[in-house]
């Protein structure tokens, strides 16, 4: 008669007891769409990320100038809101006369490439380890927990700086280093989620009919934790973009004259007291992109959460 009264009592207590009473509930997809339309953070974050992606893909079409073109006669022109600003260079020009707007637009390519690839690669590493640990348990799990603990003990930024200083700050090196350093959160979350799913009947059923373990992990476990992985991926992507900016700012990441945003801040630093836009603009670009990705990630988490809890 009442198989799940605990859940009901909790739900009732939470004051959001509609689920128990509402039996003709809409499908999960419809619920998600309805929640998504009302989620302001998701809409704003998603829009900004979309703009950034468009900028990255169509940079040559959108950017008014070549980001590498130096024109010393036009150096340090103020942005449009400053004294002597022109619409030719809405964000002004840098010390070498390069158009800052164009450099910021091209910068999205670097940030997004590194962010997406590092987060994906780290996700593959971390989720694999996490699912294996969570699924097999016992000694396998102990080994994976130990790996996670070792990884957590290392100071990630310093290790990244050291490795990059040895291998040089090329984009592939940065991606690999960050993938190697940011897999732990995936592992922790997927491990816990897998442990939970493993005890479910459908996994037991799959085991009983003799499905291979790889197949169970890929076909039964992975689809059920994909939402959570996507949420972490967005957070890790934001983190990778920030770390790339840090490394480049300290001259150990992407090398000049590539228009990485971190590098732009670094280049503008010596002029910051009389030409502050040189650091505020690229800094705000980092801030808004990271903010939007995080808002998008939080939004995805909210709309896919089972109870719609925020």
């Amino acid at each position: 008669m009442a198989p799940n009264d605990t859940a009901k009592a909790t739900a009732t207590w939470n004051g959001a007891s509609a689920d128990d009473f509402e039996v003709d509930a809409p499908s999960p997809g419809a619920v998600m769409r309805r929640r998504a339309r009302r989620h302001l953070g998701l809409i704003i974050g998603g829009t900004v990320v979309l703009i950034a992606v468009i900028c990255a893909l169509f940079a040559p079409l959108i950017a008014p100038f070549d980001p590498y073109d130096q024109e010393l006669t036009r150096k340090l022109i103020n942005p449009i809101w400053g004294k002597g600003g022109t619409w030719t260079h809405p964000f002004g020009t840098d010390a070498l006369g390069r158009d800052l707007l164009s450099r910021v637009i091209y910068g999205t390519q670097i940030s997004l490439t590194i962010g997406v690839l590092a987060a994906t690669l780290a996700g593959v590493i971390g989720s694999t380890l996490g699912m294996i640990g969570g699924y097999f348990g016992g000694r396998v799990d102990a080994v994976i927990m130990y790996l996670i603990n070792c990884k957590l003990a290392l100071p990630p930024l310093l290790v990244a700086l050291s490795v990059v200083s040895v291998f040089g700050g090329s984009i592939p090196v940065l991606i690999l280093v960050m993938a190697a350093l940011f897999w732990d959160r995936y592992a922790v979350v997927t491990r816990a989620a897998t442990q939970q799913i493993r005890s479910n009947d459908f996994v037991t059923a799959a085991e009983a009919v003799g499905c291979s373990k790889t197949r169970i992990i890929l076909r039964e476990v992975l689809p059920n934790i994909l939402n959570q992985i996507i949420v972490i991926a967005s957070l890790e992507m934001a983190l990778a973009i920030l770390v790339e900016a840090v490394l480049s700012f300290f001259g150990l990441g992407v090398q000049p004259p590539t228009p990485s945003w971190g590098l732009l801040v670094n280049e503008g630093r010596q002029y910051m007291f009389f030409k502050p836009y040189l650091i505020t603009i690229p800094g705000l670009a980092i801030f808004f992109l990271v903010l939007s990705i995080n808002m998008m990630g939080d939004g995805i988490r909210d709309i896919t959460a089972p109870e719609g809890r925020n």
Binding site: D5, T6, D20, G308
Partner: protein, 348 residues
């Protein structure tokens, strides 16, 4: 603690008239509890029976003043030992909770705070309500732990909840509820989370304690077997409404509402139900209670449903003998139907 009977025995310990609870949810307003009337006397057990989501837990939380913030409650009358609970401040209500009215929850595994000792949590309520100092609280706690059948009570006080089994924890919860000798105890499915053998022990214990402390007991459950064991009176709830109420004898031997009949058909009776025969089940599902409801809410699951069931409000019919039910069928019609379903008419 000898049973201290109230000054005026004709007064109910708890009297609830026309209780309504509405809860705001994203989809609209949930009519969780509608027009509920009941009362409990000293030494009496009222069982509120119903399926998940029928409003029985919300009703008890309303009586305790523990409704979530999204809920609003209205009632014509809500008195505890003659005191009007509708007009008390939050502070005054809190003074009554744990003192005059106590509650035992469903899951003993999570209802005790894991980071404090049993003793701490028991003594706390005694001291809070100004019954005495730490020393008296401790003595009272030991006395009650012994009462609920816990051995080595003094040494249990220093233990943490996770060191006790579920059954023991529920005994601790019961003892804790009795710390201030309340006039009314609400037990919300207190045995559901426990093993069957432990369930019986806890039920017997509650009965014994009731005899000794003479408190009113509201017992909330979905299990009619439990109801038959302990109820003096029964209120059957469905979709936020009390659909049938009466003393245990009346409800079990002559159920007047098709829903109650359906519930009774769902339980097997040892010696009567033939092995392998079909147990009853109620087809269909509980309607969503979002927005205003019309007519009988059971009609979509009721095999006797007719035109008259669809509109208006079905009143609680009472035949003057405290046996009430919300159904358009006349008693004669109902009796005829029951004859066709022999398994339904059963009294313990």
């Amino acid at each position: 603690m000898e049973g201290n009977t109230p000054k005026n025995t004709s007064d109910h310990v708890l009297d609830v008239r026309n209780l309504n609870v509405r809860i705001k949810v994203p989809a609209g307003t949930l009519h969780a509890v509608t027009d509920v009337d009941f009362h409990v006397d000293r030494g009496e057990t009222l069982c509120i029976v119903g399926e998940s989501g029928c409003g029985k837990s919300i009703t008890s939380l309303a009586v305790m003043g523990l409704l979530p913030r999204s809920a609003t409650m209205t009632a014509d009358k809500l008195t505890l030992e003659g005191r009007d609970l509708l007009s008390v401040t939050d502070r005054q209500f809190a003074d009554l909770r744990g003192d005059r009215i106590g509650m035992i929850f469903q899951d003993p595994m999570t209802s005790l705070n894991p980071v404090y000792t049993i003793g701490n949590q028991m003594e706390e309520v005694y001291i809070r309500h100004g019954k005495g100092g730490r020393k008296e609280a401790r003595e009272r706690a030991i006395y009650l732990l012994e009462k609920v059948g816990i051995t080595a009570a003094a040494s249990r006080l220093g233990q943490y909840p996770h060191q006790l089994s579920g059954g023991l924890r529920q005994r601790v919860m019961i003892a804790m509820t009795l710390m201030c000798d309340p006039a009314l105890v609400i037990a919300d499915e207190p045995t559901t989370a426990l093993d069957v053998t432990i369930q019986a022990q806890i039920l017997n214990l509650l009965k014994e304690l009731q005899d000794e402390f003479h408190m009113g007991l509201i017992f909330i459950t979905h299990d009619l077997g439990v109801v038959a064991r302990i109820a003096d009176r029964v209120a059957v709830m469905y979709a936020g409404l009390v659909v049938e109420t009466g003393n245990a004898e009346q409800v079990f031997s002559a159920p007047m509402h098709p829903y109650t009949q359906g519930l009774l058909e769902c339980i097997p009776i040892p010696g009567k139900t033939v092995r392998g025969s079909q147990l009853g089940s109620i087809p269909g599902i509980v309607p969503a209670l979002i927005g205003e409801q019309e007519g009988c809410l059971f009609r979509n699951r009721c095999s006797y449903a007719r035109e008259a069931c669809t509109d208006g409000e079905i009143d609680l019919e009472t035949g003057g003998d405290q046996h009430g039910y919300r159904c358009v069928l006349t008693p004669e019609e109902t009796v005829n139907h029951i004859k066709k379903a022999p398994n339904a008419a059963v009294a313990e």
